[in-house]
Amino acid sequence: MDFVAKAVIIGLTEQAPLVLAAMGMALIYNLSKVINVAFAETITLGAYFGMWMNTTFSANFYVSLAIAGILAGVLSCATYLVVFRTAERRGVGTVEVIIISLGLSVLLRYGLQFVFGYEARFYDTPPPTFMKLFGVGFTSFQLTAFILVVVLALLFYLFVQKTVWGRQVRALASDADLAKVSGINPLLTTLVMWFMAGAAGGLAGAFWGVGSSAKPGLGWDRFLLTLLVVLVGGTRGLRGVILAGMGTGVLLSALKLEIAPLRAEIVLLVAFILVLKLRGNRFRELAKV
């Protein structure tokens, strides 16, 4: 019981932003049917935007967080308009789009170093207070981040499932031609979705950034895990992504309690690969709707 409680509390508090990031990536995957590697940099830039607002303009963390989300959303839309829409119009193949997104990822990751500097940058936040639950220690900040992530994930979920915009996004993802015939504006709907996805990624990055630091490799270091959560959990829609994200956090912390952290990550990756292999392409179409 003690072990389970520890695994759950540590997993949920430490990996909460993973759920947000995975939801953002899944939104793009659902609509564009392609994995956007540059999403890693949306996460990274979210962390930098938050840090920039927090340290340069002395904004408190929550204001920085909101602005980081908005700016990351705008950046996400810009990447769609400049790069991915052009690729779509030119009929570029799936592998090539993935490589293009890798190029964009590299471009942004190194480009941001000219703007924000080469070294890691830190948020200026008051020191957190330490708490304990079931004998497991965590910071007030981790608790706040967890609660905020749960609320935001719920809002994202409700937006996609219950609002008119969400229905339009899902309609466009299911059958673009039919959606257009029924009066949906594909560009506007796509931009709304890319904005939401970017905002989710940016917020995740800001949470990760304030927990450690804003550095160029922040998003890339977490990209693979986010991608695997989307590919495995995405077969069950956004609910599946949320569950897979939380499950991954808990499993990773459980493994880290038993074995060395790096070996724990290896075991988790091997488990994900096996799931991908066993699942094959059977749920592929389901995953994209």
Binding site: Y29, V34, I35, V37, V83, T86, A87, R90, V92, T94, V95, E96, I98, I99, I100, L102, G103, L104, S105, V106, L107, L108, R109, Y110, G111, Q113, F114, Y118, W220, L224, L227, L228, L231, A260, L262, R263, E265, I266, L269, V270, F272, I273, L276, K277, G280, N281, R284
Partner: protein
């Protein structure tokens, strides 16, 4: 004459190391060409397969005093086994799954090297690894000649594959997998086979890189290697065996040899701004080439051009 020689080859060690890197990228690019350009497998974990060979070679040489040839064979086998496993995993996955699986393989190799410090030295490093022969000052030049030979062999093999029945099978698998399957072509076996074969080549190149750097660090296996190889191949032409060579000369050759050797950049620029600018240009190249000239400088396969020409007649 002497002044010209001094200007061109004033820092021979630097020039030789830059050419080592160039040859390594060309070799990896030719192997990636067989995976991506011919068979349609987007391998985003090149650094992992290469690193598996590099570290297998290093561990055997440093810890077990294994001879050069046996260590190189083991490095090749390590890359091959890893490639066969990766091929088995991705055989029935779509492109997104292939991206995730190959990236995961590279990450696992990286994490294993960082975690198994007793064998790999972790972040402290593993060394030293020496050349298998010593002919004095010309040892590094002789090693460079060997690398040229290996790269030439890979190029020769890639060209042969294009003209062979096996090459047609690979092209059929890459161009239209469902059709190849319906024609009873062994698509799954083909993918596993080509991944094992080409990854074995990447492992061998990793083994050959060991004596060049003498000391191995996990930071040598970052995604930058994969990005350099993909950029070179995409720029030169992913469907052509010479594509990786042309692309590598224009990217790695320009940045890691020409500019570093002949442009007097201040030290602080060389340390930070230069590598960052190089990566920015690589990223921009990937985007622009694939958007506006998807088949790179050399264009489509010779076979396709020939068929297109016939259809016009």
């Amino acid at each position: 004459m002497s002044a010209v020689w001094d200007y061109l080859f004033g820092s021979p060690a630097f020039l030789i190391f830059g050419t080592y890197t160039l040859m390594m990228i060309v070799g990896l690019g030719i192997l990636l060409h067989l995976q991506l350009g011919v068979t349609g497998i987007g391998n985003f974990g090149v650094a992992g397969f290469w690193g598996a060979g590099l570290y297998t070679f290093g561990i055997l040489q440093v810890h077990y005093d294994v001879g050069f040839w046996l260590a190189l064979l083991a490095a090749t086998a390590a890359g091959g086994v890893l490639g066969a496993i990766a091929g088995w995993v991705i055989a029935d996955l779509d492109d997104d799954g292939v991206l995730a699986a190959t990236l995961a393989v590279a990450t696992i190799v990286f994490l294993a090297i960082e975690s198994e410090k007793d064998f790999t030295g972790g972040r402290v490093g593993l060394g030293t690894i020496d050349f298998p022969f010593d002919i004095g000052e010309r040892t590094d030049l002789a090693w460079l000649a060997i690398l040229f030979g290996v790269t030439g062999l890979l190029l020769w093999y890639a060209r042969r594959v294009h003209r062979s029945p096996y090459g047609r099978l690979l092209i059929a698998t890459g161009t239209n997998e469902p059709l190849a399957r319906s024609l009873r072509k062994p698509v799954k076996r083909t993918k596993v086979g080509i991944m094992a074969l080409t990854s074995a080549g990447m492992g061998a190149l990793g083994g050959l890189y060991g004596p060049i750097v003498h000391f191995l660090f996990p930071t040598q296996l970052t995604v930058a290697i994969t990005v350099s190889v993909i950029t070179a191949l995409v720029l030169g032409g992913q469907q052509r065996p010479w594509g990786a060579f042309i692309g590598a000369v224009l990217t790695v050759g320009l940045f890691d040899i020409a500019i570093k050797l002949y442009v007097p950049l201040p030290r602080e620029v060389l340390e930070h701004a230069f590598p960052v600018t190089k990566q920015i240009i690589f990223g921009a190249l990937l985007i622009f080439v694939l958007l506006f000239r998807p088949l790179g400088i050399l264009g489509r396969m010779r076979r396709e051009r020939h068929v297109k020409g016939l259809s016009r007649v």
